[in-house]
């Protein structure tokens, strides 16, 4: 049988759960399987960035990953693996687009992050309240509509007001986003590519 990694990279969604079970009975631990899947997700991301995979295939990879996590998550929770990092993520108030944000959420969850996804149309105060509640060290704000981009500074403002700016990194993502917007918005990174965003967040978590 193919490894979990191959099943994921080939988007064989129907075979994912059985592949995870096969890996478990062959003696691999849930954490080892997750690492294998994470390598698969990285390969999917690389194929997307090379133009070999398209957005619909990123979504399929996310859906395939979710099938694996249905088996792995209960086992990982019982083994109490420490999360690589905690992120609060959501689409900014006034914007209802969720696909890019969901891809980042799924990829980070598969990379071992504790992901608190607030959904769409999220008021700035909700980001800061969730950071306070969870002790998250990273905030991800998604904004596709360019007119909602300025609202991201309000997220920064309320996090500052809560005295938490020093201990959280803030990243914004969205179609109209450019790296150079980060300085103006008072955030640490701005990207228009979900895969690039995941790379930056992972780097922050290991630094």
């Amino acid at each position: 049988m193919n490894t979990c990694r191959d099943v994921l990279v080939n988007l064989e969604i129907g075979g994912m759960q059985d592949s995870v079970r096969a890996a478990l009975i062959s003696g691999l631990s849930p954490t080892e399987i997750l690492q294998d899947l994470e390598a698969g997700m990285q390969e999917v991301g690389a194929r997307f960035q090379r133009g070999e995979y398209f957005f619909s295939e990123l979504i399929m990879a996310g859906e395939t990953m979710k099938e694996a996590l249905k088996i792995l998550k209960p086992l990982l929770e019982s083994s109490q693996t420490k999360a690589k990092g905690k992120i609060v993520i959501g689409t900014i108030q006034g914007d209802l687009h969720d696909i890019g944000k969901d891809i980042v959420s799924t990829m980070l969850a598969s990379a071992g992050f504790e992901v608190h996804d607030l959904g769409i149309d999220v008021p700035p105060e909700s980001f800061s309240a969730k950071v306070k509640e969870t002790g998250a060290d990273i905030v991800g704000v998604s904004a596709l509509l360019s007119v909602t981009v300025p609202t991201i500074s309000k997220v920064v403002e309320v996090i500052k007001l809560g005295g938490m700016r020093d201990r959280v990194k803030i990243i914004a993502g969205g179609a109209a986003m450019r790296p150079e917007y980060a300085a103006n918005l008072g955030i640490d990174a701005a990207v228009n590519d979900a895969i690039e965003g995941v790379k930056i967040i992972k780097k922050w978590a290991t630094s």
Binding site: S56, E63, G94
Partner: protein, 356 residues
């Protein structure tokens, strides 16, 4: 020159007096435009802006009483139901966002009901086309009448089925996808035929197949499921003499030849933020008319009036030669765009001479 002739001549590459204009406005924007032009009629606004195209569309039948869950802000009597959270006649829940500007689909009937047990709305139910027919009669001869038949096949399919679920279907459930798309194809073709019978010169439809950075769906999926059906759909409408206007946001260059092969005449919106209108004109300008090209992501919301004017002039100078260009904002104009920039855009377009 009559607006209708201006648009047709531009599509047919015959002489025109100025570049044709089009645009759609969200209700709150239209209310501000009415105030600006000191009128209580949207038609007066469209005339003042020099817009050459008028939309007609199919209504829900008389018998359909939408179930409003959360009433939207009452903007005015003309627009009261636009952003309410409601179930539409397909059983799709349209949920309003907190700022009352947009809604999104949050309940998808085909996630809960088998396709074989799901009845499409009755296209011949009384009350559907009376308003369209009446409006077409009013506009007839003077303006180009566009029969608005959005959503398209991909968008209606995922609204019915759920976005992720439908993407999964595209990769794993061929029988289901074929059956759903075929039923939609037949239904939408009938809808468009009736709009043409009402007096539409052009059918306007849309499937967002692109995003800012590239295609949303893999090209083999687009070519397998959508292009052959577009070809059948559009050729049936072209037999009746209609032009085909196709909207897809985003960077979609790789599938423009496929869309041309399927029979489109007008491509919207050719966002300058991710596709160079000059390149699109060079490559495909002999076969399609470019519609849109004035950025609602940058210039219109954030630019000065002078920057708006410059973008319009540049577009007409670089893309307008020989016709095949219709200037419009690249999306519906929302409340974040200053009125002065909207008016400035249309004035600049009316004043700029098309290069010889």
């Amino acid at each position: 020159m009559k607006p209708r002739d201006r648009v047709i001549n531009s599509i047919e590459r015959s002489p025109i007096d100025r570049v044709p204009l089009d645009g759609w406005f969200r209700p709150e924007t239209m209310i501000r435009l009415r105030e600006y032009f000191k009128t209580d009629r949207s038609e007066e606004v469209l005339r003042a802006l020099g817009i050459d195209i008028r939309d007609i569309r199919m209504d829900p039948p008389e018998s359909f009483k939408p179930e409003y869950i959360l009433p939207a802000q009452r903007l005015s009597k003309d627009f009261e139901s636009l952003y309410a959270t409601m179930f539409d006649e397909w059983g799709i829940k349209r949920e309003a966002g907190s700022t009352d500007e947009y809604w999104h689909f949050t309940h998808h009937p085909l996630e809960h009901v088998e396709l074989d047990d799901y009845a499409f709305p009755d296209i011949d139910a009384p009350g559907r086309f009376e308003r369209a027919r009446e409006l077409a009669k009013q506009y007839s001869g003077e303006f180009l009448v566009a029969g608005n038949a959005t959503l398209g096949l991909f968008e209606e399919a995922w609204a019915l089925r759920g976005y992720r679920t439908f993407i999964r279907d595209l990769y794993t459930n061929e029988t289901f996808v074929n059956k759903l798309l075929d039923r939609l194809l037949i239904w939408k073709t009938e809808q468009c035929k009736r709009l043409i019978e009402c007096g539409a010169d052009m059918i306007l439809t849309s499937d967002d197949l692109g995003m800012q950075t590239g295609l949303m769906l893999a090209p083999p999926i687009i070519r397998k499921y959508f292009m052959p059906r577009y070809r059948l759909w559009f050729s049936e409408l072209k037999k009746k003499g209609a032009y085909i206007f196709f909207h897809t946001d985003g960077k979609v260059e790789p599938i423009i030849p496929d869309l041309i092969g399927a029979g489109i005449d007008v491509l919207n919106p050719v966002q300058p933020d991710c596709m160079d209108p000059v390149v699109i004109k060079e490559l495909y300008g002999d076969r399609i008319t470019i519609h849109g090209t004035i950025s609602v992501q940058k210039t219109l919301p954030f630019g000065t009036i002078e920057e708006v004017r410059r973008e319009v002039e540049t577009r007409i100078m670089t893309v307008g030669r020989g016709g095949g260009l219709i200037i419009a904002p690249t999306h519906t104009v929302d409340k974040h765009i200053p009125i002065e920039n909207i008016v400035g855009m249309y004035r600049a377009a009316m004043q700029t001479k098309i290069p010889d």
